[in-house]
Amino acid sequence: MAIQLTTPISEAAAEALQVGDTVEISGYILCGRDAVLPKVLKMIEDGTAGELGVDLRGQVIFHTAVSPAGVGPTSSNKLEIESSISPLSAAGIKLHLGKGALHQETIEALDKYNAVYAVIPPVTALLEAKTTERKVLAFPELGMEALHLIKVDKYPAIIGAAHGRSIYD
């Protein structure tokens, strides 16, 4: 039986997640990858993240582009993406959604901020039916790589890293 997670995810709900748990994620979630995540980090550093119009606390960030072809995870261990996980967790993101093994220091940073990493299969055709809204939040000049906000219903995933442990070990 999959654990139901609805955004914003509470500290207690994040704390309860364990490596190997299957989850279904619902609600509004953020989407961003290589091009936009460094720009979001810069906004956080500059104290301008409030201009996004979304409270990052309890949020999910899905490592994907958003295009007419749909959504699907890119590799979370790409340099710009993986390096965003620790500072975004510090800013309140509770769940990073993508695919691929992460480095140990990233797994430890997730644990430090009571955040988790979940692996989602690249099942674009199935996810399309579970995605009900999508809009660009920031950096529209990046096209499909802009920061998007989408509304999802029961995205399937497996917890890949939590409490200092990784499913890839």
Binding site: S76, K99, T124, A125, I158
Partner: protein, 285 residues
């Protein structure tokens, strides 16, 4: 040709949509066998979800993956058939039409050479802004023009490798190197189970060309001894679907060995194609 032009455009467009949205029957068979044999519950769940996704994509004629891929084309030419510039134009227009119909991800990069390298020229918002790779031509036995369209995603391109192997006059040395590369690349891919596409040739160009043709000619239900050995040995690494462990890291290996030179070196090209690849469809024009 003029009156046939639009018909060819339509056929190519429809074939591209099929390539991006449909599993061939032998691939579905391979998934069903893997699901039945897989003991790891998380691995089994991933395999079932990927097959369910394929069924949904086929029904909707929609992309299997949001990385809808770069079109790679193989054109087979029969005895009396001619390849004209007009035919190539029709194929190119058909690819563009198909990319809009799928729809393909608009990921063509605009700008001059430098802009296209550093991606500072922006993205073309048109799905058809993704240009196909150069067409590979080869002779075929039947007196037809047969076009194969393959959609190549970015993940396997990151983890693929074309390099020399000193064979030491022993086939096992080359197989050992292929298995070693494959274990590394499959573990990094994140979109397993893979189908390993392998070409062995005399130059980088030839080896990559053979790797492409291996995907055209490969069949999950017909595996050579060398292909079975590579698959078995990589699966022993316990990487599993999406890297979550299990017996199914690789569904099959498609290997094509070309002519070789009198030398101690072989050029090997390996592409660890992802759980949806080879995304391929074929049409007679």
């Amino acid at each position: 040709m003029t009156e046939n032009y639009e018909a060819i455009v339509a056929k190519v467009a429809d074939t591209l949509v099929s390539a991006g949205s449909t599993f061939r029957d032998d691939k579905k068979d391979a998934y069903r066998r893997a699901i039945a044999a897989e003991q790891n519950p998380q691995a089994k769940w991933v395999l079932e979800t990927v097959l369910e996704n394929a069924e949904a994509a086929e029904k909707n004629r929609s992309p299997l993956c949001d990385d809808s891929g770069i079109p790679h084309l193989v054109l087979e030419v029969g005895e009396d058939r001619a390849v004209t510039g007009k035919l190539l134009d029709a194929i190119r227009e058909g690819v563009a039409t198909g990319l809009r119909q799928l729809p393909g991800r608009p990921m063509g990069i605009m700008g001059d050479d430098s802009h296209r390298i550093d991606q500072s020229g922006g993205l073309n918002p048109d799905s058809a802004g993704v240009e196909p790779s150069p067409i590979l031509l080869r002779r075929c036995e039947n007196n037809v023009l047969r076009l194969h369209i393959l959609m190549f995603g970015g993940g396997p391109a990151i983890r693929g490798k074309t390099y020399r192997v000193f064979h030491k006059h022993n086939t096992q040395v080359v197989l050992e190197e292929i298995v070693s590369w494959a274990k590394q690349s499959v573990s990094e891919l994140g979109c397993s189970p893979c189908t390993l596409a392998v070409g062995v040739g005399r130059s980088h160009f030839e080896a990559a060309s053979l790797m492409l043709q291996a995907q055209v000619d490969g069949n999950y239900n017909v595996q050579s001894e060398m292909e079975r050995e590579i698959t078995r040995r990589v699966n022993e690494a316990d990487i599993g679907p999406l890297g979550l462990h299990g017996n199914t890291s690789v569904l099959a290996t498609f290997m094509k060995v070309g002519p070789q030179r009198a030398s101690g070196v072989r050029i090997v090209s390996l592409r660890p194609t992802c759980c949806f690849e080879p995304r391929i469809a074929t049409v007679e024009l």
